[in-house]
């Protein structure tokens, strides 16, 4: 079997694998990448499993509202916990609708539904360290306009959202220059260590009490209500929706803060917290919480990570080597191809991921496609370089010896280009290991999931248990490619 047929078969196998994954249809609950949302997601998962007896998957720690909303519309997830204010401002802003009823109508048109509110409101607030607020005499937001040197650390989503910083700054005439965008969990760390003075809070965050922060009074009532509720697809079975509705009016703010506290400060898993809550309040036994050991978690994440890296790398290899060769034999097209794959490389990875959701949903496929796109440049360039660096005298010799075309390519040119091709592959593989960590934001798993969780729980050990294996994997790949080079490249042209 020659290389072309072999690659065709493998490509077919990958496509089949991907489509099988898409066919197997469990109910999927999604959740955003902060603790409260994950606990709510877990509650939904366990109650449905218990009530309806269906198997439910919980895809936790997906990045941002847009990712989840698009995934819900596409049917990649069926349910996720959301907040009324977010839906109204972020998703329906352009529709000019602002009541829950209007919202419901609009969502029905998209095939989506919402439960009634769960009974707690998790609004935005601006928070400060209590002692600093007291020493400056600040207790409401309107007082901030006279303290222009204060340093802000605001969540990326908050900075951009209609109902976030832009509107707030306008409403209170805040013209502060000293604003950094940062992850919500990182901001808690920064405010605790005094690197920033103000951050955006979610009013049910357990950290407010835990770190002795105060939420400044929203004296102009700028922030809308953010009533927690479940957003779901209308094509779900009645029994599933009924099961979700059991939460309506059930969870108040104190209960939610309490559960957030258990996760953040008692280090209980969301599974455990949800299970305890359900058995105490709804008499639901809940599914047995599986406590993953650190080791089994690392094994699982490594498998996912390797899968992402190598499937994308293999696909890139199948496409890039012929493309690189094409650049060599057809220089005009080559310039365009090289320019194009170069441009792809400059697109920020998060942007590629988000753009891909409407097309490919969430999970492994869009992550693999993004990694595939990033892998193109090093391999195409390596291949092109490999073929074109043959010096002119030798080049003429290859052409003028009377060798058949096949021999010219496979006996002479390809082996001569191989070191540069392998180098490109190695670069792509190592870059992929790093970039794949971002895949966790769209539910692709891998080490990024562990790192995100570590950041969310402010758990350094957890962060390192994602970061160190990733570094080791990159190192391992480097070594593997060096070995591959040793065994594939002729001793006559090997440099090492």
């Amino acid at each position: 079997m020659n290389i072309v047929t072999l690659s065709k078969h493998l490509l077919l196998a990958i496509c089949l694998l991907c489509s099988f994954k898409a066919i197997s249809k469990d109910i999927v609950v999604g959740s955003k990448k902060f603790t409260e949302n994950i606990i709510l997601g877990e509650l939904a998962k366990q109650i449905i499993e218990d009530d309806v007896g269906l198997s439910v998957t919980h895809k936790e720690e997906l990045g941002g509202t847009r990712v989840l909303f698009e995934a819900l519309k596409r049917g990649d997830i069926d349910i996720y916990p959301e907040y009324s204010g977010t839906l109204i401002f972020e998703i329906l802003a352009s529709q000019g609708k602002n009541s829950l009823e209007e919202l419901k109508d609009h969502l029905r048109g998209l095939g989506l539904g919402i439960t009634k509110p769960l009974a707690f409101n998790n609004t935005y607030a601006l928070g400060m360290r209590r002692e600093q607020a007291e020493s400056l005499g600040i207790h409401k937001i309107s007082q901030l306009s006279s303290h222009e040197t204060l340093r802000y650390g605001l969540g990326h989503e908050f900075l951009d959202r209609q109902d976030g910083w832009p509107g707030l700054a306008k409403a209170y005439s805040l013209s502060h220059q000293n604003i950094s965008g940062m992850d919500h969990d990182i901001a808690y760390k920064a405010i605790r260590t005094g690197r920033i003075d103000l951050m955006d809070l979610y009013s049910t965050d357990a950290e407010i009490q835990g770190y002795d922060l105060i939420a400044l009074e929203d004296d102009k009532q700028y922030f809308p209500e953010y009533a927690a509720l479940f957003l779901y697809r209308l094509d779900l079975e009645e029994s599933v929706i009924a099961s979700l509705k059991r939460f309506e009016g059930l969870i108040d703010a104190n209960t939610m803060v309490g559960m957030n506290h258990l996760a953040k400060f008692e280090k209980q898993s969301p599974e455990m917290i949800a299970q305890n809550y359900l058995s105490q309040n709804l008499g639901v036994s809940g599914s047995e919480a599986v406590n993953e050991t650190v080791l089994s978690d690392i094994v699982k994440r490594s498998t996912q990570h390797l899968y992402l890296v190598f499937v994308s790398l293999f696909a890139a290899l199948v496409v890039s080597i012929p493309l690189g060769y094409l650049c060599f034999v057809w220089q005009k097209a080559g310039k365009i191809i090289l320019g194009f794959v170069g441009v792809i490389q400059t697109i920020p990875s998060l942007a590629i991921l988000v753009v891909m959701i409407p097309l490919f949903g969430i999970g492994e496929l869009p992550a693999i496609i993004a990694l595939f796109l990033y892998s193109l440049l090093p391999i195409v360039r390596g291949t092109h370089l490999g073929f074109s660096q043959i010096e002119p005298g030798l080049d003429f010799m290859i052409e003028s010896m009377g060798l058949p075309k096949k021999s010219k390519i496979w006996r002479i040119r390809f082996p001569l280009a191989l070191p540069a091709i392998l180098n490109g592959l190695k670069t792509s593989a190592v870059i992929n290991v790093g970039t794949a960590t971002i895949g966790a934001l769209i539910g692709a798993g891998g080490y990024g999931q562990t790192i995100l969780k570590g950041i969310r729980l402010d758990d350094h050990q957890l962060i390192l248990s994602g970061a160190i294996p990733a570094a080791l994997m990159a190192l391992g790949i480097q070594v593997a490619f060096d070995y591959l080079e040793k065994s594939l490249v002729s001793d006559g042209i090997r440099t090492k």
């Binding site: 030798l394 010799m397 052409e399 003028s400 009377g402 082996p415 001569l416 490249v489 002729s490 006559g492």
Partner: protein
């Protein structure tokens, strides 16, 4: 194999590298192309076995017009050696020598036999067979390249400055060995050189090239005694002068 070139011209980036060149090489004849650097000698060779479509004019092989359709078949009747050898760096000496015949569906045994025979003729030591080009000296590279050019038993041998850039003792030994080898094989030969002495010993005809044109073709003595161009006289004086 008889080769005729008729009105060959070659233009490279607005420069006329070859201008209306005609020549004839009868089967078994040995021709030296001589001239200073840039006179067009190597271009003539490259055009001949490279791409005929680059030329204006025509080349006939045994009376048949050489075209792209059968240039590869023609190339396999030619053995070609360039300055520095032109060995493929990723192949060993033996692999280099056999790369063409192996692609011509010759049995492995026959390939090996031929290789051993021509290696012996070219006095290429057997301990060099498994080595890569970068492990060889300049003279060894040329011997290996010569074996590669002979293994497929071509009718025409083209040697393009094969002895340049070698140190004098090695060059002398190699020249002596190659001359003996060519004499024993009775092949047609085109030798590209700028060394009159070499031309005299290897060839029965010498074409003197300058600025993309052949100024004169004839035996060594004819050119020496009756140069048709002032430049030829000067070239002979300069190279044969004693001081």
């Amino acid at each position: 194999m008889k080769i005729e070139g008729r009105n060959l011209s070659l233009r490279y980036q607005d420069k006329l590298v070859l201008e209306n060149i005609s020549f004839t090489l009868e089967s078994g004849n040995r021709l030296a192309l001589i001239g200073s650097s840039g006179s067009g000698k190597s271009s003539l060779i490259k055009g001949l076995i490279g791409l005929p479509s680059f030329y204006q004019g025509e080349v006939k092989v045994d009376g048949n017009m050489l075209t792209n359709d059968w240039i590869n078949r023609f190339r396999r009747r030619v053995g070609y050696v360039i300055q520095g050898g032109g060995l493929f760096p990723h192949l060993t000496v033996k692999e280099n020598a056999l790369v063409l015949v192996r692609s011509m569906s010759l049995a492995d045994d026959d390939c090996d036999k031929r290789f051993t025979m021509y290696a012996e003729l070219a006095q290429l030591e057997s301990k060099l067979f498994p080595l890569y080009p970068h492990q060889l000296s300049g003279g060894q590279k040329q011997r290996a390249a010569l074996v590669r050019a002979l293994v497929h038993e071509p009718e025409l041998l083209i040697l393009d400055e094969p002895f340049s850039a070698l140190d004098p003792v090695i060059r002398y030994t190699l020249q002596r060995d190659v001359k003996a080898l060519i004499a024993s094989l009775k092949k047609s030969l085109i030798l590209v050189t700028h060394d009159l002495n070499e031309a005299k010993h290897f060839a029965d005809q010498i074409s003197f090239m300058h600025d993309g044109k052949i100024l004169q073709t004839g035996k060594f003595l004819e050119l020496k005694e009756n140069p048709k161009h002032k430049l030829i006289g000067e070239f002979f004086t300069a190279q044969l002068a004693e001081f």
